[in-house]
């Protein structure tokens, strides 16, 4: 499991990031003492660090430089100061990427996973999600069940992924549509119904009949 260290003084954002990472099978830890960032990094040994620029005592630039003296762990800066100067500064200090506040969960996850993929071995366990014995591989959009692997179409994959991430919870049709919009697929209600129908057929093909259940008038649910 990938470990992400979060250096952010706004509790809301820090907790939000942890939850968001958790949904993707990653573990997040928030810094507890802003004077001892280095010590905490050394102790936790994260795979990636998410760092705010404005912090109590010492700023993010400082810590970034300190960390760079001993480690090449990927660092992503998050900041509301989005002018080019700040971005250039961040990169010069040794950061690997920059995210402007306020950001979408999807943007955060996309950048984190991209950076992890580039830095570490591609095929680590956290790239897969499991539900009811089926393995969804987020690297190549495939689903494996009982030894059979199938490729999922882009929309099918996105729908299934959203359901898996929220397994045992009802996912509204709106949320599924939003997930598809995130991939620049501007579906309406009818298209969604068609897509879900297609996904069900695909799942049935490898013996996962009725994996997706309809909650009438609300949405869909995928149970373990």
């Amino acid at each position: 499991m990938y470990k992400i260290f979060i250096v952010e003084d706004d509790k809301g954002i820090a907790d939000g990031i942890v939850t968001c990472l958790g949904n993707w099978g990653m573990e997040g830890l928030v810094v507890s003492d802003f004077m001892k960032v280095m010590e905490e990094v050394d102790e936790y040994e994260p795979h990636l660090i998410i760092m705010d620029i404005t912090l109590p005592y010492m700023g993010g630039y400082h810590w970034c430089q300190e960390i760079r003296k001993t480690s090449s762990v990927p660092i992503i800066f998050i900041s509301s100061a989005t002018d080019n100067m700040n971005i250039i500064m961040a990169i010069n200090m040794g950061a690997d990427d920059f995210i402007a506040k306020p950001f979408d969960q999807s943007v955060l996850i996309a950048k984190v996973t991209a950076l992890l993929r580039r830095t570490y071995d591609f095929s680590q366990a956290s790239a897969t999600l499991e539900v009811a014995g089926a393995i969804l591989n987020t690297n190549n959009n495939t689903l494996t069940y009982n030894g059979t692997e199938i490729d999922l179409a882009r929309n099918e994959y996105k729908i299934l992924l959203t359901l898996v991430q929220n397994k045992n919870k009802v996912v509204s049709r709106e949320k599924l549509m939003e997930a598809l919009w995130e991939t620049d697929c501007y579906v309406d209600e009818n298209t969604l119904t068609v897509n879900v129908g297609r996904l069900r057929k695909t799942l049935e093909g490898i013996g996962l009949k009725d994996l997706i259940k309809t909650k009438f008038g609300v949405g869909y649910i995928l149970e373990d």
Partner: protein
């Protein structure tokens, strides 16, 4: 110039003329020969002319100096008084100029800090709301989007004319600007059940990515705001002209020519109390700065079409 000089010296000329006349008439009455008058008269004329030319040149010199905003040494009491008044006014003006500039800079600085401050709670709320799947969360997220847009507008308004504003004009992929803009309004589209028909433009344009995306977002935001059924189309039929077309309430013919004016809200805006009339004004100003052209076509009750002409134009790229 010379005429004005003569005018300023008219008193002394009259005086000289008077003196000459007195001499001439007295000589005449004493029946002295005419040459005794003419001879000194000519000599005096030469003298007056020489002094006159020197005087004129001096005045001309002073005049030019003053025109260059450079006050010459005062000669005489009145000039000294005037110069004192002028320098006092200058000092005062400089004082107010500096005060205004520093007040303005302070204000810009504060607004900039404020905009960055408010982004942290927005970010925090967004992260939390996005992990909720409910109608309430969706509504709150929509509101949050609006707050963010308003903050962005403040920053844009401040940066628009600031000297330190950076325009980075380069070739950019237009679709890469449009797609994130559409994504921003996904929730609004879905909750209002509007369709989005985007035909990829597959075009590269010469523009500034950040500023152009502000314009496109603003236009999309209006389209979503004023459309209750149907949907929005984004396409490029003519090369270089991006069209954003909605099936919304439209703009009346009377309002149409004025929608890009600062603070103009028109009928739609007056209905919708939140309208500030500043969004499209900013779009127009940004387009002007970027060398693009923005225009609108509309039919009331049927929809609006905003056209952004992104064709290359000479805007003096460095």
């Amino acid at each position: 110039m010379f005429g004005e000089y003569l005018k300023s010296r008219v008193k002394i000329l009259m005086l000289l003329l008077g003196v000459a006349a007195v001499f001439a008439s007295v000589y005449f009455l004493f029946e002295l020969p005419a040459v005794t008058v003419l001879y000194p008269l000519i000599l005096s004329l030469v003298l007056i002319l020489t002094v006159g030319i020197i005087d004129f040149l001096l005045v001309l010199n002073k005049h030019r100096k003053i025109q260059r905003n450079d006050l010459p040494e005062p000669s005489g009491l009145l000039e000294k008084d005037y110069q004192e008044v002028i320098s006092k006014l200058k000092e005062e003006q400089e004082f107010y100029r500096q005060k205004t500039t520093s007040d303005y800079n302070n204000m810009v600085e504060y607004y900039t800090i404020w905009a960055h401050q408010i982004k942290t709670p927005i970010a925090s709320m967004r992260l939390r709301i996005q992990s909720e799947d409910s109608d309430l969360a969706r509504r709150l997220d929509g509101d949050l989007n609006r707050i963010e847009a308003y903050v962005e507008m403040v920053l844009t308004f401040l940066r628009l004319d600031s000297d330190s504003t950076d325009y980075v004009i380069k070739e950019i992929d237009l679709d890469a600007v449009i797609k994130p803009a559409i994504r921003k309004f996904a929730r609004d589209f879905i909750s209002k059940k509007l369709t989005m028909d985007f035909k990829p433009t597959e075009t590269k344009v010469l523009s500034d990515e950040k500023w152009l995306s502000f314009v496109i977002e603003q236009v999309l935001s209006n389209a979503v705001k004023y459309t209750n059924e149907g949907g929005i189309k984004v396409y490029m039929d003519e090369p270089g002209i991006l069209c954003i077309e909605d099936t919304g309430i439209g703009i009346s013919a009377a309002d149409l020519p004025r929608i890009f004016e600062n603070g103009y809200t028109g009928f739609n805006g007056r209905e919708d109390k939140r309208a500030s009339g500043i969004g499209l004004y900013l779009c127009k100003r940004i387009c002007d700065n970027l060398g693009h052209k923005i225009s609108a076509e509309s039919e009331q009750g049927a929809g609006t079409r905003i056209l952004i002409d992104l064709n290359k134009r000479d805007i003096g790229i460095e």
